[in-house]
Symmetry: C2
Subunit: 464 residues, 2 copies
């Protein structure tokens, strides 16, 4: 009897052993670990996981995968909420978490060059002594590479922009193993196509980022945070809209609805807070500027029936507040023991935010489902955690059905299906509706040009 014929992926694994040794593995536990992110998509195990250390290794591995037409799924910290890291066509998962060196910090230029596996929090720990910080903060323990791939933003984006505005330069390994540099070290440039922005948000479908130069910001002289409760959801959202339109440079302005507050008070032990629609707000600047901004926002809140600000001026109190905000998803999911959650990511023009949020809540109530709303309201972006019973065979399906209705409302208001989580598997069906057939065809043609064999994170972003 003949031995079974080797699959293409077996050739890749065998050849990659030469330069990765034990760092390319078919170990079951590791493949299982890499079979899904933090979303509800069906887990799929890759054939092997490669823990790469250098650009050269990524390049050699991609060249092999290109040659044998083996799918490649890049992996950072596995915190995707939209199935980005699920290797739906198996193949090789490229784990970049060990490429976590901070290669250079240039305080004079307020930038740094890092590898993609650097975690956001580790970077800020490293920078603190130099009076600098990296502001983009999606809350999770994600890697900067993953943030670039999904065009992440988070709580500080309202003031400092999303990751799109905070990346200067990339090193990218293309699908066939070629290595390019995009962008540069300057703050601006008018020197050819903006390849940096093309790769940011491309969700691993065009290449693998192996170096990233980030803009940094000075730690503000003064920071102050406050919490403000409102009689109803619309008043809280109106407050956000007026603050943004007044041009007050708030650093963060986050909305939690009454259900989310109920969940977060319990989960994060937020004693003394009300189970009412609430804004968490942070101010950055000089001491005088922070005070001036805070007074202006307090006045707008009061006009909308907001309670007096409860201040969190000390670092510890602020950390507790933002940890609670970051844990909102987990707090929401914990509302019903044993339940799981999916989360929406609708973003609308700010003039439509009241309508979108109040409407989403009404749709949810009509469906008789439990959700919490938490949002980067200053950007018009909000998340609705939709709980479902994993033991109900139709539970997840019903949750997705509600998600679709909420997205449809968002799109009808000029919004997008994804403000920051990305498309992945979960939002593919909305892309054509949002962009139209021709724009999607342009995206596909770019994908075809840069990845003609379709090996880079196949199945993501596009439906086929």
């Amino acid at each position: 009897m003949n031995a079974p014929a080797l699959r293409p992926v077996d050739h890749v694994i065998a050849a990659a052993r030469a330069f990765l040794g034990e760092r390319i593995t078919t170990n079951n536990a590791i493949r299982e670990q890499h079979s899904h992110g933090e979303d509800s998509s069906t887990p799929v195990q890759p054939d092997a996981v490669a823990f790469v250390h250098t650009t050269e290794e990524v390049s050699k591995l991609l060249a092999l995968c290109h040659r044998y037409e083996v799918p490649v799924t890049p992996w950072g910290a596995g915190t995707s909420l939209e199935g980005h890291v699920t290797p739906v066509r198996a193949g090789i998962t490229l784990d970049l978490s060990k490429m976590d060196r901070i290669l250079e910090v240039r305080p004079d230029d307020m930038d740094c060059l890092i590898e993609p596996g650097v975690e956001r929090r580790a970077l800020n720990d490293h920078l603190r002594d130099q009076g600098l910080f990296f502001p983009v903060d999606p809350g999770s323990h994600c890697t900067i590479g993953g943030m670039c791939a999904t065009r992440a933003s988070g709580t500080n984006a309202v003031r400092y922009g999303t990751i799109r505005e905070n990346v200067l330069e990339l090193e990218v390994v293309l699908a066939d193993g070629r290595v390019i540099r995009t962008g540069g070290q300057t703050r601006k440039a008018a020197n050819g196509y903006d390849l940096t922005r093309l790769f940011i948000g491309s969700e691993g479908t065009l290449g693998v980022m192996t170096k990233i130069r980030l803009r940094l910001h000075g730690i503000p002289e003064a920071t102050s945070a406050a919490v403000c409760a409102f009689p109803d959801l619309a008043s809280a959202v109106e407050t956000v809209r007026t603050v943004i339109q007044s041009g007050i440079p708030v650093a963060r302005i986050e909305l939690l609805d009454a259900d989310q507050m109920r969940a977060s008070i319990r989960y994060s032990k937020l004693t003394g807070m009300a189970e009412a629609p609430t804004l968490f707000i942070e101010f950055h600047g000089s001491a005088a500027a922070v005070q001036e901004q805070a007074e202006a926002v307090q006045a707008i809140a009061a006009d909308n029936g907001g309670a007096d600000f409860a201040w969190a001026t000390e670092t510890e109190a602020r950390n507790k507040l933002w940890t609670a905000r970051h844990d909102a998803y987990w707090a929401g999911v914990s509302l019903i023991p044993g339940y799981r959650g999916i989360t929406t990511d609708v973003c609308v023009p700010i003039s439509k935010l009241v309508e979108a949020i109040v409407g989403a809540k009404a749709i949810t109530e009509a469906a008789g489902q439990t959700t919490c709303i938490v949002g980067h309201a200053g950007d018009g972006n909000f998340h609705q955690v939709i709980l479902y019973d994993p033991n109900d065979p139709h539970g997840l399906e019903k949750a997705w059905e509600l998600d679709r209705k909420i997205v449809a409302l968002g799109l009808s208001l000029g919004g997008t299906c994804s403000g920051e989580h990305g498309v992945g598997l979960g939002k593919r069906e909305f892309l054509e509706q949002e962009h139209g057939v021709e724009a999607l065809a342009v995206m596909r043609s770019i994908k075809q040009t840069l990845d003609p064999k379709g090996i880079m994170n196949p199945g993501k972003m596009f439906r086929n």
Copy 2:
């Protein structure tokens, strides 16, 4: 005898008459007008100029040009400094200046939807009553479409970003006449490839923008401007560097060297100012914030030997100042009667700005040539107007030679050949050097995908 065979462009002109009538013209004076921008490239007349009024007309015309493989050169206001609007392979020049409608202003969302032929100043005149403004200000009488095409920035970019950060949505006609929408109405999105940023800065080589949604900003409560002279160039540049690194949100911080001041004092009648390296600075914010920023900058300037601030608080005085700044190029060219000028556009990391500017000045002196330096110093971007005698057969060549040396110095310091003017004809030779062969190959492959027949602004950005 047979009549001469019709050229492809004649077919296009004849067919376009059906929907453009007299608005497609072969009139000599109009072709001459459209043979060059404000640069020194050799004028080339297009075969015809089409004054389009609608997206549909652009689409039909491009479909024709695509069919007959006729070059198309988009035209806004003809203010390019790098040969973008010179139709080097003749064909049709697409004059978009009549597509100048402001289609929508949404004060609540702080955005507007416009046609590409809208002039920057006209837009701001229109917005003023609503308390809004569009900050990106390259100084010239350019159109917003031209600004998008060249990834323009200008004096306010240090605070408000370049046009790249201030465009939300585009309607684009592709080379074959297909019409797509890119981006959307929301402040951020993670919903597919960033086609908006791909077209911004593509210099008319990928398609024609026919609608543009811009972010707007609130007119600041208080605005104040000041002028500060320094004993030498390095002290002025050091001041800028420290201001930026301190995170003081100056709205503009512009550098004029002693030669530029000499030129501008004469050209713009800036009485009472010194022929010394000088900063023009503007502050935006609340009254208190403006005062606080001004005091901080004044202290930094004083540390570097700067003179006391001369204030321009009234609108009229400020307008005079910024008009002088905007006319700097013309003031520089007027230094030697009868001479013409080319201008460099180097941008470097701010830590290298002193070295770049002082070095550029030294190279110039060694070459025995006359130049003025004026710069968006806060972004690390500066322009050097190199004067040449148009009657000297080697004059322009010598000016380019000096330009090349200054760019080479900039690149050696981690900079780019173009901070904001674009590549066009003038900077093509530097692109490969900056991006490397492989990244340039990626740009070319995208060009090939979106414009397979190479009809869109051929000869620009790429050397062949």
